[in-house]
Amino acid sequence: DAGITQSPRHKVTETGTPVTLRCHQTENHRYMYWYRQDPGHGLRLIHYSYGVKDTDKGEVSDGYSVSRSKTEDFLLTLESATSSQTSVYFCAISETSTSGGTLAKNIQYFGAGTRLSVL
């Protein structure tokens, strides 16, 4: 899975507890993303990072926070987990290069996912 490690791979937790998911990359890519995958919704972006300490919200960011203190690590935190956050979470990375002013690479590479159940 393209040098991306997500941990843990599975987690069961209780409502109201904090949860942190980790994404670690060995590719030195600039961009990192957290998505959640739910039936009928495809993948939805939670937060993304465009560099160390540079993060921004995606379309479903409520209830989530992120941090990126090193290029290789991007953490997703659920401050107080709710049952609606039961989902499969995917981390992705990408790099952008330009050639003649045209973006030549926009491919995102995905980790294997973390299955989170909030009871």
Binding site: D1, I4, Y31, Y33, Y35, G40, H41, G42, L43, R44, L45, Y48, Y50, D54, D56, G58, F90, A92, S94, T96, T102, L103, A104, N106, I107, Q108, Y109, F110, G111, A112, G113
Partner: protein
Amino acid sequence: AQSVAQPEDQVNVAEGNPLTVKCTYSVSGNPYLFWYVQYPNRGLQFLLKYITGDNLVKGSYGFEAEFNKSQTSFHMKKPSALVSDSALYFCAVRVSYGGATNKLIFGTGTLLAVQP
């Protein structure tokens, strides 16, 4: 609003027959379009992309996709389906958002089932 639509939740095809998985998009500016595949309990794998140039792009595992600007579509095709092609397929379009221009919007996915 920028969006991607995959109108079919599931596509069924017999092995050896051609397959098409449909995707339409709505985005401002020139679209960057992608197809990904997901096998059970795995992350998404990149299949192919359209950035510019020829409207017919070829990707991994014999898949190809045709960009049609007038119909705002990016349907994926394969001349002869294999049972091993059975998986969940996602279409995605790149959008510009804030400081990152690599944000993708995904469709809801199409489950491809190839019968032997």
